[in-house]
Subunit: 146 residues, 2 copies
Amino acid sequence: MNIGEAARASGVSAKMLRYYEETGLIPPAGRSASGYRTYGPRDVQTLRFIRRARDLGFPMEKVAELLALWQDRSRASADVKRLAEAQVTALEVRIAEMQAMQATLRHLVHACAGDDRPDCPILSDLGGPSAAAYPSLAGGLPLAKR
Amino acid sequence: MNIGEAARASGVSAKMLRYYEETGLIPPAGRSASGYRTYGPRDVQTLRFIRRARDLGFPMEKVAELLALWQDRSRASADVKRLAEAQVTALEVRIAEMQAMQATLRHLVHACAGDDRPDCPILSDLGGPSAAAYPSLAGGLPLAKR
DNA sequence: TCTTGACCTTCCCATGGTGGGAACCCCCAT
DNA sequence: ATGGGGGTTCCCACCATGGGAAGGTCAAGA
């Protein structure tokens, strides 16, 4: 299989395949005589594993750990579970942060007339000197990706 | 006020202050004879506005729009409200994605013994050929920032 | 007056994952 | 032999932020 086919079969883009190889997440693929990367069904399986772990929100670093455990036949399932639980917690934190933002926003939206007059509690709140309950310490929130 | 003091007073780091200026979000600050940037209470208020909008998860682009509306005395509150509502929706989407991940993860965690044996449904699921309900199309999720 | 330390300046680099695209090579079918 | 659809490497951009180097400035205390 060439890189494009492996990408289609695994759901990981060719671009990412090269990147994963470069960063050492996966070992260098074999090469054809003319320098093309070649992949087997086993590689595709590994890539699918990675893809799914990413889809569950694991950062690359954790994906690497999961991958290592997956390939270690003498692993303890407790180690895997720990990673998964940590991810659940990480998600919880992020979700809570965003929900706090949402609560504040909904409150403000509710108070805004939304007509053609300039008075707007949303702006006065953002601009005001008040200490207002801001969810601070949030993340940059790259809203919308892929 | 020098940049450090303005940073402390507004909650925006000096680094970000320079960056906001560079990208045109805020106009260039005045300069002292020796080249130091100088800020007044009004600037601090603007910075606090920006900080709060960021804390509500607005991306820079939207912050710029909010800022423009804030400074436009003839704005229609409807425009502000629209922006805020869009942000609520954006957050909703992200939250839903993460909750889907969490649901899948919790399910898997629940099924894992978490002892010293190697058998682990989490790994078999990630590695398996099954189509399993993966929340795909999620974000990169830069977990943990600031 | 001189030193010291806390401040400021600009400039470059890194992050995390991903996509875009240029410039070039290779393989197969017509 | 030619064209199109692969592949390869390399660099750039995103978004918003932090880190740090190299050097100029300011104010307080000796």
